[in-house]
């Protein structure tokens, strides 16, 4: 019985669809909470530190689960330090990142 309640609560804490978030605030939080250190200010990824997160981030459920309980090297950001609302704002920021032009169209990348 207790396990069922815990499981239900867990699901309630990580809803399947991304909740609405404020991308502008999300950008500030992405910097403030140190996400940029490994993933870059634009979430473009960092060499040897963190993968690219944007544009087209992972599905909300997968990303939020991973942020709370990372399987790899990433330090955990539990709900105690980053609320669901803040995480939703960060997710909105990631979702709003523009797609870059194709590498073939950038002369400096074709040397």
């Amino acid at each position: 019985m207790i396990a069922m309640i815990a499981s239900a609560l867990a699901l309630a804490q990580t809803p399947a669809a991304a909740p609405a978030g404020n991308a502008q605030n999300g950008k500030k939080l992405f910097a403030r909470y140190g996400c940029f250190q490994c993933h870059g200010y634009e979430a473009q990824g960092g060499l040897g530190t963190g993968p690219r997160l944007a544009p087209k981030p992972l599905a909300w459920a997968a990303l939020s689960r991973y942020v709370r309980q990372p399987a790899g090297q990433m330090p955990p950001y539990t709900a105690k330090v980053v609320s669901d609302k803040d995480l939703a704002d960060i997710y909105a920021f990631l979702s709003a990142q523009p797609t870059p032009p194709p590498a073939k169209s950038i002369p400096l990348l074709n040397n």
Binding site: R32, Y33, G34, F36, Q37, C38, G40, Y41, E42, Q44, G45, G46, L47, G48, T49, R52, G72, Q73, P75, P76, Y77, T78, K80, V81, V82, P100, P101, P102, A103, K104, I106, L108, L109, N110, N111
Partner: protein, 640 residues
């Protein structure tokens, strides 16, 4: 040898004594006179016999000497072929310093003035990796060596040869009061003995000559590492009598140790039979020949290559290069050969830095692992740079580069027509995978392309655009440059610090650039901001000695590695996740590196925050460098 030193010291004291004695005869000798006038007691003989009349005595003190011992030390240093001596001046080697610049003519070696002993050593470290041989560093035996010690440790970890000479005054009776006592020590080398290959404290000039030659030989025999000689102050300054003619022994270097024939045969058998062999090179190519040989091995068996870039081992755009897919090829490998791999265990295992540290192998069950490493010939106990012990199937304690010819021949002898066909098929697949990886790299670089702070990919691409048609050498920095530049010559990359002691980058770049200078190469360094701040005086050294070097600041305004460590701790403890910048960032104020550079006599431009301004700034800086002078462009970048 001790007798010679005593004789030398005795000679100096005799000269002093003769002058003192003469003066005593001139002045009234109170105590002597009193003793002489004392009447004998109880009929016994007088306490002191009457001194004979010495006659007229010269009262001129000898103040000059023509052949100080340090002149011979310079003969030895010249015989070893050093082009330069890197040093911050120190009184404990004043004799040697003067002999170098006057007797030695300040040429071969030329004295390179450094502002910190750590810089002297790191410059020598960078120089050694370009030239493939050690250079001389002078330092105080106490405070100078203390400063130098991190640089020596880096070189030790990086298996780079450095020839240290430190000054010391062992004879307490000859030390000047005050500072010279604080700068003297019984055992000068003990401070760094754990991370030098050999040291000695010669007691005579002949001893110095023999130890210097021995030290050079030991430093240059793989595993190459720093060595240290103490040049005693008295030995430097005491004049050599005309009769003393020390000789310099013949300088014969040892050939590098090769892998045993059984091991080579076994390795060849495994590699030729493998379906997915992987060659991992770290500090493999000590010399340009090493790069050619390693490339030949890879091409002979069409193996996937993972280049860990401890040295310039393999052309970066070679179709067999699979560095971008290292984890994937290692996971699928059935045979892995590591050549001077610093951390074999860490290469084939995944390690998680969470509250409970765990690890698991990346390799598949049954994969055979072979190591060829000269480190196995000289593993010390105290400092733990030797890494965790890997599960190897075959281990050869030998120099990889020296072993490659035998290994290549052994492989060629085993290749049948069938294996050749299999190799060709494998080679085609690897080439295809390599091209796809290159495309992925370019795509990855396009993200945040126009951002401010400037992406490190953008910065690297802008630099590459400016240097690609020149005879360039990346003397500092890695990162995106390793992924975008086209490396195909040994001197185009010299590896890293070895011991990860920050403060290595800036001086080693200057040292490497000095080595490149005579070949007319364009030296470029991607310079971390925190690293430069340990001893920015290296910029002055580059300006003063007209060392052409383009330093492009990777200015992320922090000791960024530590920012991430602190973040990890805060997250783990679920508190203060916004405080990781305390004690780790360089802001308030931001450091103005362009002004800092100009203050040291280096062309400086920046800070550049708009990526569109970067190309023109680099072009202006390169104009300066093409005139034979250093230049710095401060670029404000993304963190990594």
């Amino acid at each position: 040898m001790a007798k010679s030193k005593k004789l030398s010291v005795g000679r100096r004291n005799f000269l002093k004594g003769a002058a003192g004695g003469a003066a005593a005869w001139v002045a009234t000798s109170g105590p002597l006179k009193a003793q002489q006038s004392e009447a004998p007691r109880n009929g016994s003989a007088p306490i002191l016999a009457k001194e004979p009349d010495p006659g007229p005595i010269s009262t001129v003190e000898v103040l000059t000497a023509d052949r100080p011992g340090a002149d011979f030390m310079v003969d030895v240093i010249k015989a070893l072929g050093f082009e330069y001596v890197f040093a911050n001046p120190g009184s404990s080697f004043r004799g040697l310093h003067e002999s170098l610049v006057n007797y030695g003519g300040n040429k071969n070696p030329e004295f390179i003035t450094c502002c910190h002993e750590e810089s002297s050593v790191a410059m020598a470290h960078g120089y050694a990796k370009v030239e493939g041989k050690p250079i001389c560093v002078l330092a105080h035996g106490t405070v100078g060596l203390q400063h130098a010690s991190m640089g020596i440790y880096n070189a030790y970890c990086d298996r780079a040869p450095i020839f240290m000479v430190i000054g010391n005054t062992l004879d307490a009776a000859t030390r000047r009061p005050g500072v010279e006592w604080a700068h003297s020590v019984q055992d000068a080398a003990v401070l760094v003995r754990d991370f030098t290959k050999w040291d000695d404290m010669p007691l005579s000039l002949q001893h110095f000559a023999e130890s210097a030659v021995r030290a050079y030989k030991i430093a240059t025999t793989p595993p190459t590492m720093p060595v240290l000689l103490v040049a005693d102050g008295e030995l430097q300054e005491t004049p050599m009598p005309a009769s003393e003619r020390p000789r310099i022994p013949k300088i014969t270097l040892a050939g590098p140790p090769q892998g045993d024939s059984g091991g080579v045969a076994e390795a060849a058998k495994l590699l030729v039979a493998a379906e997915n062999p992987v060659l991992i090179a770290d500090r493999c190519a000590r010399t340009p020949a090493g790069m050619k040989l390693f490339t030949e091995l890879a091409e002979t068996i069409q193996a996937a290559v993972v280049n860990q870039n401890g040295r310039m081992n393999f052309p970066s755009r070679h179709p067999l290069d699979q560095t971008e897919r290292a984890r994937e090829v290692i996971r699928n490998a059935d045979v892995i050969l590591g050549l001077e791999v610093w951390d074999f265990w860490g290469t084939v295992n995944n390690f998680r830095d969470q509250l409970h540290r765990t690890s698991q192998p990346i390799t598949k069950a049954g994969a055979k692992m072979i190591s060829i490493s000269a480190t196995d010939l000289n593993t010390r106990s105290n400092y733990q740079d030797f890494q965790r012990f890997p599960d190897l199937d075959l281990s050869m304690a030998a120099d990889s580069e020296a072993t490659l010819p035998a290994l290549i021949e052994a492989c060629k002898r085993l290749i049948t027509a069938d294996r050749k066909r299999a190799f060709e098929e494998r080679g085609k697949k690897l080439a295809e995978a390599h091209l796809q990886a290159e495309e992925r790299v370019r795509a990855e670089a396009s993200y945040a392309w126009d951002s401010s702070p400037i992406s490190t990919a953008r910065m690297a691409a802008e630099i590459w655009d400016k240097v690609k048609d020149k005879d360039w050498s990346l003397v500092g920095g890695r990162g995106w440059a390793m992924r975008l530049f086209n490396f195909d010559k040994h001197y185009q990359h010299v590896g890293g610090s070895g011991g990860a002691g920050e403060g290595y980058g800036a001086p080693s770049s200057v040292g490497a650039a000095l080595a490149n200078k005579k070949y007319g190469r364009l030296s470029v360094s991607i310079q971390n901001d925190g690293d430069l701040m340990y001893a920015p005086g290296v910029l002055w050294t580059a300006a003063h000695h007209k060392i052409p070097l383009l330093s492009v600041m990777h200015n992320n305004r922090a000791y960024h590695q530590e920012v991430m460590h602190l973040q990890r701790m805060a997250n783990r403890h679920q508190r203060g996740i916004t405080t990781a910048e305390i004690g780790t960032t360089l802001k308030d104020p931001f450091i103005d590196y362009a002004t800092l550079a100009r203050g040291m006599g280096v062309h400086g431009e920046g800070p550049i925050t708009d990526p569109k301004d970067l190309g023109p700034a680099l072009a202006r800086a390169l104009d300066v460098v093409s005139r034979g002078e250093p230049a710095l462009v401060d670029v404000v970048t993304q963190p990594r």
